[in-house]
Subunit: 325 residues, 6 copies
């Protein structure tokens, strides 16, 4: 494995540097004096730096793509008070030359293990139609590949490689616990809802190391993309009951809970109602703990989180200390 | 063709009557004295009447279904000040024995003619992929049968047999006119959007003479059902470009315009934006003229329309009269 | 124990009847001919009937109060097509003469058992301050008496005698399960939040057999009444840490989740966030299953529930049947 | 005609420059060392630059006003990393010395031609009262002068000199087309509504080269200013029927469609309903194409447009290319 | 003055009756047996009764109009359990034959006295332009006649003859008091705002004894009608400063406070801000005391008031009693 | 009294400076080279400056706390184009060494005088229970100390030392005036509501010279903190009527007027309704005049005020000038 070299936030502001980085953006831009230069936005998990390649920009641009990891050598200069890298050499890195976690946030759980756990839930579904359908979807190469890297969201919850898988698995486990308290709930519906509600995110958010929407994701969203995946696999199964398909579609279109939050229908069954709340609980808790952990040390409050319209309180877990006084 | 007999609003309040009616509801109910009677809700375009069959209710109940047209004979009695029919004889009518328009509101335009007109629009689409897809959908037996009877809505707009077809055809024609003013618009997209945006209503509202939601319609809605129809036909065509599919999906998920009005995405292209407004214009104008025509005669204002949160003003078209004074 | 006599929905429309009923309303009203009569609204779990006592109304009115159970004898007459009871004899029943469940909906769980369960949760709290406070509140005679009869709500969720206790105990049990999945959660906070979030309902909804708001409940609401109970008991404990009090107050003022839903603050800790969702989940599931069980038999959908802005789908639990076809 | 000189985005960052510019702001400001200097904000269609005149600031300030075009000579310096112009000479330019389009965005259509087109629509109105009123308004010198330069909006739609005229004329043409599809519509009402709905913008946005609100515009808005213009001209005509005036007032007060969008009344006639949608369609399409044309080249998506709460998709018109693959 | 005769709520349900009533509705309706009858809706301040005239309906219909007071003789019959009057004789009453307050709610304050008080406020305005304008408006015969009878609203506040005058005068007096506390406020602006903010209601609600909207009121509303009155009188005054007109227009268009409450602009000056709150305070207090006074006697709470989304508490003024215990 | 020294906005950008400042923030931060430095944020009423102490940071940090006034000597350097102070000497100042108004905005009214005025209002309350309660609260040392320094808000209204007291006293005076116009109002309730509605702000915003929320304020808010203070003092009084307590609690929980504005209940009595509007009027007028007075000089409009969603118009008070032309 190649050396990562310095992380971006530790680059010396002068002298020659060599390091690995993710290509977040790449464009040919006109020089004031005529001709072109190659503009790059490079990043790792510690930050970003703009870079320019003045020599043979068009040829250099063919060596790698957005989203690739590259090994780059150059010098740091100040431009309008901002550091930028003047590229001398750059090449694409192969898988094996780098640690993915150096370049983008990645789920703390092992992704292969999570996938096995998810398959276990699917295999445990009692209804034959449902189980066959869920297995078909998880075995779909497109889904199987993507679910290991897709994030749960761009910013709000589980914004990391494997975040979607972490979220889905967590909701399955949560369902398992909640059923123990409300035995009237139907376990098959809940597992199916947990697996399918966000499945469209494998296309909406995709597999890019940059957390961002794909074009299809921005045009139609994960609800419609999830419906598409469902329809494709139902079509492959024989005599799949339309009543079951309808209920699965209902889970997908209702899991945002309210019309103005992006649901096409409000949840109409106990399982659909619970699915919505489990999705919320798992997303909000992950977000809360992440913000709290990021939080500036020594402060009672996190920074203001616009999506939550609040700051979070960081002291709570320490109730014991009060008691011990 | 059988005689309709009296319309429900003209039934004499005493004596023996014979007439044809639509069965809106049918149920076996317990008698106070034990045993069962057959409860019916009968209707025609002038009103509704409750009916009871005391003799052999279970056997009678097998003779016809909800949504059938029946010929019924009986006597009218008052019960809690409301007239009800005591059934003596009842039988199912066959197609040909009755005029459908006697029993449920029906589009004023000829449905075969509208369908030919719609097919003409589809055939005129220039893009081969788009044209093939639209033809495939219109030739789908399920769609072809249902589109001739499905309404545009239960109450709001085009609430009549054939109303969906009338709305879709009208939006195609409207698009044709608006393109003349804005030539930059892409005609293929607009025709495709006009044909597909509400296509899920063939399953959401279905083919029943009673205007109502189907179970699938209530569970998943016409947006998701339209996406399902689209996906089914795209799967049948070879090498259908995913970019075109995405845009068609976008038309379907965005045609309600705003998230809190039931759109999954806001319209992002000029054609998608216009499609939303054409849908609104055609629905609102149909609704407005229908309310205005319903009277009451001699009044300046219609009754209050809750869905519009207003009364409509009935005098406007008479501007000429003012001028002539 | 006295005989209940006929239930109100089974009263014969003529002849003399004797039965037990709850007095929902009581008023002296002027007779057209001068003088007064006693107006009553009587009910049991099957319905309501208006009653009039023409003889010695003022004296009769002193024999019982609103919310009492009475034994009444009289005749049924029709007035404006509605049955009413002309009272001949009426007297107050003592506890022991009647089954409370005949007159108002009552929790299906045994209330003493639920209370013991709740006390068990309280006793298991690890933090000494928290445990002492919760014990103090549960031992408060006002709270201890009321919590066994107060409902969870007038209409929306747990609208029955003991409904509040059922809801609170259920949320404690739910918390226990969810902690198993998210071990980072603080159990003490969750149990305290579960016990306290709705405690003000013992004064807001009170102990009346009629499910209704008290005057204090209508003026200040259960959030403020819960804060009052909390403050009263904190004042009784020595050196109760203000940090713990603040967090408990936060649970009470934030448990409705959003400002426009009646929260004074949005939840700012993981436990406060989860408490809101557990409250929602338990309330919504109870409401959903109750509506589903109320029928109507044979229908796929419940009646429209205005507070949920939807009908609920009754078929879901039967997924197995589809599979078995 | 004078030379424009360099455009602001091409000014050399050093040396002496001479160019023409619009005065967007002008103020005397205190020098740290006592006395005053003249602060200017200069602009052309390519950008803005701050300028300072140190010599004889008060006298210089009298030579021109905000909104004038000036010819200026000076040197560029850096101040806090921002370029600023140190003025050596400056004088007001007369009409004829410059091309207006160099300094502010201007409608692409010829304004005289649009005005003739609009007059043609007005002359074609059949109702004598309506036609006379519209002619009176268009002949009002205040209106006639302003309508040739007023924009359609400051930022949202038609934000350019002549933009209002372009919008109004376009809505007239659009109405003409839509009437062909819905012949029941009254053409006179639609033309009158198209001409009058935004007429108050001639005072709200005014004639300044800087797109901005006038004081009256900010205080009372174009709806009230439009009503004022209407009232002034109705008063000049003999026996103008109050029924027609009321309907025209209704068009003005209802054209924003919904109360929370700035309508005083919701549209109550088919023509008023359509007017609202035509206004929306024309504004949204102009805005969409403008954003799409602004680039950035090679990108699928425009920048985020806050007023639309979305990015727009730039690829749509190219459907043909997909087909041709 | 004629005798009123019995009030409608005291009419005997049989026998011949003679009384005076307001004609709220009048229509010729078809008889089942052919021909027509005259349908009337008669009312006084105690209630309503439907009436039918079978003899010479067309001729009878010419004798009076909606909104007239009539003297009627006839017999009461029951029809579908509702009493109705069979008319034998009916004639129009002249002013002087009846007391208006017998037929419609009327302000408790003397209307001539209120008008003098209002004129006093207007005469006390210091600014010559403002004073002349307000005097011109109050002397406008249309305004002067209507303001003595127009209500403040149909249902919400001051829904009685003279209610508008009562409201406007009250806001003037309130302003006088509030200025004493905030001397920085400009008294002229406040008096002008108080007089003008609702002046359009003289046309919106009009002079009918039935509290209802006029056609113009429903089409354009009192804000636009107030602007019209203002513009008409400004046009009559010489050299009225446009700055003052703009501010007065601002008061009218901003007095509802928020855009979604019907304001075209939010209030932007201290006086405009205060005007909005004074309007609210005076309307809400009148409404609250009216609801409280309407009873029902002995109840702590009023009936639910939908426009306020609450019940009001009736006990408050009695705080003294608590103290005296 | 010590010299203030230069104000922060007048500090020379080079050379040695000595001045007094408020410590807004204080933190030990790691040096790049290892070890720590002391970071400070210093402010006075003219602005802020960051400061760093490199020598003996830990020891220096013990000399003063956040919110103290310090005397500091050091040199100004530029860092990333921003000036910062390198601290040479720093020490805490004692009361008497500085003028508080040099460091934070302070009410223009004398605070002792306002407090006497408030006590006068309290002493004038007629109801014995109410008067005793209000006196008890004002005599509470915690309240008495804090009310002299607590602000009315952090940004929106009365954001200055003593601002809360200024607001409360002003509302009392306003009530006094409004009662003169509406004599039916109960004065005792209004004075009590004025004194108590915001009393929780003494804990929510606290006594810090930096205007900011305390932790308790952020967790539970001034409504809940006000209820707590009320409950504490009611508990100290004998036989305080629960009906009066309920109404006072109602004033506190309803004074924000609407649920989505932070009220737990909507105001249900005339006095509660008026209290809400008086709170609004006093807050909005203070805010409006403050914004207007802040300039900028010569401009008709203030800067945009996000909390009001508008700019304010600064010209209004000058109506006289128009008249004088």
């Amino acid at each position: 494995m190649a050396e990562k070299g310095l992380f971006i936030d530790a680059l010396r502001r002068d002298g020659l540097v060599t390091f690995l980085a993710l290509v977040k953006d790449k464009a040919l831009r006109p020089k004031r004096t005529g001709g072109w230069y190659l503009y790059l936005l490079l990043s790792d998990r510690t930050g970003e730096i703009e870079a320019k390649a003045w020599d043979q920009p068009q040829q250099t641009a063919t060596l790698f793509e957005r989203n690739d990891i590259v090994k780059v050598r150059g010098t740091i200069e100040l431009y309008n008070d901002h550091p930028q890298l003047i590229v001398q050499r750059i090449r694409r890195c192969e898988v094996g030359e780098f640690e993915e976690t150096d370049f983008c946030p990645t789920s703390a759980r092992d992704r292969e293990e999570m996938l096995r756990e998810l398959q276990g839930f699917v295999d445990s579904v009692g209804n034959n139609h449902l189980r066959a359908l869920l297995q078909s979807i998880l075995n779909d190469p497109l889904v199987a590949t993507a679910i290991k890297v897709a994030p749960g969201g761009v910013r709000l919850h589980h914004p990391c490689r494997g975040g979607l898988l972490e979220h889905v698995t967590s909701v399955c486990n949560l369902a398992e616990k909640i059923i123990e308290h409300y035995p009237r709930l139907n376990r098959d519906w809940l597992i199916a809802g947990a697996v399918l509600h966000d499945i469209g995110k494998v296309e909406e958010l995709g597999t890019s190391r940059r957390l961002s929407y794909t074009t299809r994701g921005q045009l139609v969203g994960h609800v419609a993309l999830g419906l598409e995946i469902l329809e494709r696999h139902v079509a492959r199964l024989e005599e799949f009951p339309v009543e079951i398909k309808s209920m699965l579609q209902h889970f997908i279109v209702s899991h945002h809970g309210e019309i103005d939050k992006g649901a096409l229908r409000r949840p109409v069954s106990p399982e659909a109602i619970l699915l919505h709340y489990m999705d919320e609980v798992d997303a909000r808790l992950e977000q809360a703990w992440r913000l709290i952990d990021q939080g500036p040390a020594g402060e009672e409050w996190t920074a203001y989180a616009p999506s939550l319209e609040r700051q979070l309180y960081r002291w709570c877990p320490l109730a014991q200390e009060v008691d011990a006084r």
